[in-house]
Amino acid sequence: MPLKVVILRIDLIKMIKQLISLHSLRGWLFSFGLLALAVILLPVLNIFIPEESFLHVPDYIFPLLGKYLCYALVALAIDLIWGYTGILSLGHGVFFSMGGYAMGMYLMRSIGKEGMYKSDLPDFMVFLDWKELPWYWYGFDHFSISLLAILVLPGLFAFVFGYFAFRSRIKGVYFAIITQAMTYALMLLFFRNDTGFGGNNGLTDFKRILGYSLQEPSTKMSLFIITAIVLFLSYILSRYIVKSKLGRVLTAIRDVESRVMFSGYNTLNYKLFIWTLSAFLCGIAGALYVPQVGIINPSEMQPANSIEMAIWVAVGGRGTLVGAILGAGLINVAKSWFTVAAPDYWLYFLGVLFISVTLFLPKGLIGIFDRFSSQNKNKKL
């Protein structure tokens, strides 16, 4: 049989039109405005405004904001699978950690012989009296291979996990529970010293990335800028997906999956696609998070962490993308404040917030804006 050449034809002009129509003019101005604020205005205010001025942006703000943007990317990823496709995952901490560990391994290898024990091996391995690098650490001295691992491993793991779960038609609460079990099991695995990822201390004491010192303010600022751009591009990608026919199929699966199947769609493929993409974005978020925060350890895989991620989305507003980003940002700013001012009350606050949003704002915080704008429309009528 002659090999059939598959020509991947895309109608470019229509696609560009589609891209432009993702937002109204105001929407585009707003999103590019936010991006410019992050990647131009903040750095300028940091570099060119003297420190005495109240307009000066201090150095510490960049890793902090960078961390929030990573969380926002996680929330965006969860919104795709939960808000649009109706599949609640309480295990996204795993994909986040996988990306994070892959980056962490690269950063560990970049330390070279400058660790506490002046050895070529990472400190924790010397401490465990290991003589050579385990095979799965091979290649992580190279950034390119580490990057490949970051881009491939979380998605691949999600694909395999998702394939078996979706093929068995596991849905709803059952799916949420097995994702919790997944993150718990992997957390226990990573806690073990023998697993080879630093046990409960995880990976830390990083020195440099791509040769640039992680202590340098300019490196921190660059990481923040990269994170902002990645978040922006991921948002546009997600927006394109949910506005395409694929997005309509996903929401249709969320609403009545059987009808979608009887309409001739292989829903397994659709669910797998968006699930894998979601894990992929989450892995990138983890990889960007680690150099900015300076540590990755198994506690990122605590079941409660993944639940908190879902709460960001619920509070911000499911199925809106913007809501997820907003929710992640607001809750984490609140968390930063609470854990300093009243650390004992943070979980109570989170619980009350979650319950009240569920009761009074089923569409999340973004629903408030919608309500206002629809009221305005009604007035005009």
């Binding site: 991947l8 034809r9 895309i10 109608d11 229509k14 696609m15 589609q18 997906i241 395409s244 026919k245 694929l246 309509r248 199929v249 929401t251 249709a252 609403d255 009545v256 059987s258 009808r259 979608v260 199947m261 009887f262 309409s263 001739g264 769609y265 292989n266 829903t267 493929n269 659709y270 696609f273």
Partner: protein, 261 residues
């Protein structure tokens, strides 16, 4: 270019013997209760068949078996002479050309009427197409024509969840039409419809026969009388009687089941 976009293989269904659907010796049991018990049913190509029977006779289970939702414990289901439906998944069966309307109207409530039809439309349904291809003019035309047929043209941009009950039923029928199946399975199409809507539905379904094969499950006797030339009566999971409406009505077995002894 459009042809490869819209064309799905139709010619695989072998109806040379005049029959499009063969159900043979089907048995389905749930926890010992036999929902279908050695059921044999043949549907001719282009025929409009009505299936009636008291509650629990196995009508919906039969639809589930044909569409792949339920696997039979015993028996064979063939679409045409060569396609074994018991080995296929729901979406493959749908692609092969069997469309189904549910007993409870099931449309995508959060999508507009137009989008509902777009999703159901007979086209490639893989991920790549959904991401990067857009509706062709031809496809838009098909959708608009269907909107006219089902009388929902002016509701094109309305969210389907806001439609009245009868309109929802029609939308679901419309979704079957754009799917352009060889065989339509229609479960209680006129439940909750007004008298006039019922008449219009009868007209629509009658007009479909010939080009498509149509199997209708219904309780509403007047409706059946107005469309059916052949009626099958199911009872306790097997065929009790088959024939014209008049034959069936005069069948002593049927009378006993319906009126009790």
């Amino acid at each position: 270019m459009n042809s490869e976009n819209t064309q799905v293989k139709d010619d695989l269904i072998d109806t040379r013997h005049g029959c499009i659907l063969y159900l043979e010796n089907i048995t389905v049991s749930f926890d010992g209760f036999k929902a279908l018990d050695d059921l044999n049913l043949y549907i001719d190509d282009g025929e409009l068949r009505c299936i009636i029977g008291p509650n629990g006779a196995g009508k919906t289970t039969m639809m589930d078996v044909i569409t792949g939702k339920t696997r039979p414990d015993k028996g064979t289901v063939f679409f045409g002479q060569s396609m074994d439906l018991t080995q296929m998944t729901e979406y493959e069966i749908s692609h092969a050309g069997i469309g189904r309307k549910f007993q409870k109207p099931t449309v995508f409530k959060n999508h507009t009427v137009f989008e509902n039809l777009e999703l159901a439309l007979h086209a490639k349904k893989d991920i790549w197409t959904s991401l990067f291809k857009y509706l062709t003019e031809e496809q838009k035309e098909t959708i608009n024509e269907t909107l006219k047929t089902i009388g929902l043209m002016e509701y094109s941009k309305t969210r389907a969840g806001l439609l009245a009950h009868g309109q929802t039923q029609w939308l679901e029928i419309g979704m079957l039409l754009v799917q352009d199946p060889r065989l339509l399975l229609i479960d209680e199409p006129v439940a909750g419809m007004t008298h006039q809507e019922t008449e219009q539905t009868a007209e629509l379904l009658s007009s479909l026969a010939g080009k498509h094969s149509v199997v209708v499950v219904e309780h509403e006797m007047d409706f059946i009388r107005s469309i059916a030339n052949r009626v099958t009566v199911l009872h306790e999971g097997h065929v009790l009687a088959e024939g014209s409406m008049q034959d069936v009505q005069n069948d002593p077995n049927v009378i006993e089941v319906y009126l009790g002894s």
